[in-house]
Amino acid sequence: MADSTGKGRGRSPEPRTTKTAMGATHDVQNFDVDSDEDKSALEEFFAPVAGFGVTMASLFRPVVTEQYPFEKKPTAPRYHGRHQLNRHPDGLEKCIGCELCAWACPADAIYVEAGNNTPDAQYAPGERYGKVYQINYLRCIFCGLCIEACPTRALTMTNDYELADTTREKMIFEKDQLLAPLRSGMLSAPHPMVEGTTDGDYYRGAVTGPTAEQVDWVREHRPEDPSLESAADPGRAQGGKR
């Protein structure tokens, strides 16, 4: 470095050189980390502009900003969003009120109270159903341990993340907010299980939809039920046990 004065740059005075113990020479006084000495005149001329190069080049790159509230980008497919309580294909609830989700929850965000199914009010296959189901979204950390704990796959997570609200009370979601909406062809609970099935058949996926007996039962007990229309549609292949 110190010996390279031959290029005759003339900007700095004669560099003072010293010899170190190792024998190498060093420029002590005018040590310049970004020395331009090996640059051509053109490069040197454009050096101050180079800093703006990044800025200039960025002008022609695509914009990275997501216009969030106007254009929503989809989340990852397995994003941990708001919970959902699922239903069997005939409309009975999958939740059996076992409280394993509440046990698994590290933040104590879930409260479950089980109720007994009766012949008059059968909400889920088997003996019991989740009578009260609350999730406190001001405690929930969306870790998904409740989903892992659920033995009937009743509790899953959606990709919905817009949850902000104004009071603590509104952030406790009740069962009616968490329960999955009835798909077309489902019959809203309560109604009896499909004839001749056990809860095991439901879990194995043997039940594919509401049967005529179930539709009749609901028509008798709740003639105003809005889900009757699609469940009793004659054009639809009737469900039952597979």
Binding site: A164, T167, R168
Partner: protein, 185 residues
């Protein structure tokens, strides 16, 4: 506060309220109040990918005097509580608070002696935002929720006095947060 407080209640004040609410919501500067990991997402909200300057709030003020909005992002320890309160008190009116993340909103999974179980024990919170941490879109959603509130219900003058009296009466009736049971605790 100013001239708008002298206006009589009625049509005129209603129109001024609309205008003032719109103006206030369009340039709301947040104070830097990052307390834990949620602050990372809050900073991400300011980056070019999410870009909260689209809503006129690009500058995170380090000085509470120049800020309108406090985004409490992260768990609030008991030791930090008086600090956050004094920062809030130094902010000039009108001011708003977003409680970002479950820890700030209710203590979250940290139900222990060190953490204040929700910043609403020390601050009046306008919008609660769940998530651990909430993604930047969720924060923007909460901010827009707050903007909506500010545009819709920003009473001035005589209307403000009336609303304040009602809020005060309701607060005296309400159960204090520390006495709430169950999931609200």
């Amino acid at each position: 506060m100013g001239l708008e407080d002298k206006l009589p209640a009625g049509f005129m004040l209603g129109k001024v309220e609309d205008l003032v609410g719109w103006v206030r919501s369009s340039s709301m500067w947040p104070v830097t109040m990052g307390l834990a990991c949620c602050a990372i997402e809050m900073m991400a909200t300011g980056t070019s990918r999410f870009d909260i300057s689209r809503f006129g709030m690009e500058v995170f003020r380090a000085s509470p005097r120049q800020a309108d909005l406090m985004i409490v992002s992260g768990r609030l320890s008991h030791k930090m509580a008086p600090v956050i309160r004094s920062v809030y008190d130094q902010m000039s009116d009108p001011k708003w608070v977003i409680s970002m993340g479950v820890c700030a909103s209710s203590g979250g999974m940290f139900n222990n002696y060190a953490i204040v179980q929700g910043v609403d024990h020390v601050l009046p919170v306008d919008v609660y935002l769940p998530g651990c941490p909430p993604r930047p879109e969720m924060l923007i959603n909460a901010i827009l929720e707050l903007h909506e509130q500010v545009v819709k219900q920003e009473p001035l003058g005589a209307n403000r006095a009336e609303v304040r009296a009602k809020v005060e009466a309701a607060a005296l009736e309400a159960t204090p947060t520390h006495q709430m049971k169950g999931l609200l605790a």
